[in-house]
Symmetry: C2
Subunit: 214 residues, 2 copies
């Protein structure tokens, strides 16, 4: 059952296409990205893309799925982690932010996919595939939401509407996909400092108490 050389080559070719597609979708959006764009980026032609993916929509879906796959993978170590909920939340949040920075093209594609789903910009055939991906993404989000509720139960977070709190938290933690871009000479600890500032901001927003109303 071990994979032969052929399979490895095929997988490598497939992931190369996924990476190129993710970059194209990030740079131009779904509609404005042509299959030829993706092919050209890796010095290939349409034939190669359509050999591995049945359609543009399927290619996009696979980019989405891969993006979520690596997110789940990164978050796995904190599943069922003991101790204070806040500590777990901070680790999860920082991991998530670093993931947004490290795999920006895929995460932008995920964002685009969610937007497409919310706008209903999907054909009936795509619907089932998309629903599955959105569920996949919701299960990921649920891990954060559970921890969020635990933090509130433990008294470290305070917020009115949990739904809105979750939206604001994810907007904050996802935001680097929009404004982060690598600086020349940037070290890993520089990036970690950025991630820390993002996590601190979210934490501050979630445990607010002060109120200089109106």
């Amino acid at each position: 059952m071990a994979l032969g050389v052929r399979e490895h080559v095929a997988d490598s070719s497939r992931i190369d296409i996924l990476r190129a597609a993710a970059c194209c979708f990030m740079e131009r959006g779904y509609t404005a990205t042509s299959i030829d764009d993706v092919a050209r980026r890796i010095g290939a032609t349409k034939g190669r893309i359509y050999h591995h993916f049945p359609s543009k929509a399927d290619l996009f879906a696979e980019v989405f799925r891969h993006g979520m796959d690596i997110n789940f993978e990164a978050l796995a170590p904190f599943q069922g982690m003991a101790g204070p909920a806040l500590v777990r939340w901070r680790r999860m949040a920082k991991t998530h932010v670093l993931q947004m920075i490290d795999t920006k093209p895929f995460q932008r594609a995920v964002w685009i996919g969610v937007e497409m789903h919310l706008r209903g910009a999907t054909t009936p055939e795509q619907r089932s595939v998309f629903n599955e991906l959105i569920d996949y993404r919701d299960r990921y989000g649920a891990q954060f939401r559970d921890t969020l509720i635990q933090c509130r139960d433990e008294g470290v977070f305070r917020f009115e509407n949990p739904s809105i709190a979750g939206q604001l938290m994810f907007m904050t933690l996802n935001s680097p996909i929009f404004w982060y871009s690598p600086r020349t000479g940037e070290t890993r600890s520089d990036i970690e400092a950025i991630a820390d500032q993002v996590v601190d901001y979210a934490q501050g927003g979630l445990c607010k108490e002060q109120g200089t109303q109106t």
Copy 2:
């Protein structure tokens, strides 16, 4: 110099097109929106659109401009307002959030425009028009950034990187354009409560002090 009936009719027709265009751009994005889509939404045809706007790019630019026009208008009362910076910041922030909710289609179009500019997804001819609009939007953002710095000078806000703090603040205050949608039976005070929660979150994020590190 008073405008006649003809001019008012023409202006009304123009603003109707702008509104329809804003909705289309919000629902499908720039590329996926066709001129025919915009026309169909108001029961018209291409001819009407091209009579008022020379091109799709110009139509989009005018939607962008109108979105920023109403933003400036809403924020005008707080220009040069005396008193603590935090009070001014809260009023500006809440006004901004309510504006995002009340004029969502235009604000989404502005977002799309900024994304297009950042991606360089503009033709040389569009470049100058776009640069002007981005400047226009930056001047709007500067009003917030100035107040942000004042708040830090007055000791009520604390953050490391001002640039990142600004990004996070705007992501929070703009976020309703992505997740807000009106509920049936929703009153104005319900909306204000949502806006307050958003502003509170941003404020909490900007004056963080606590730190359960790593």
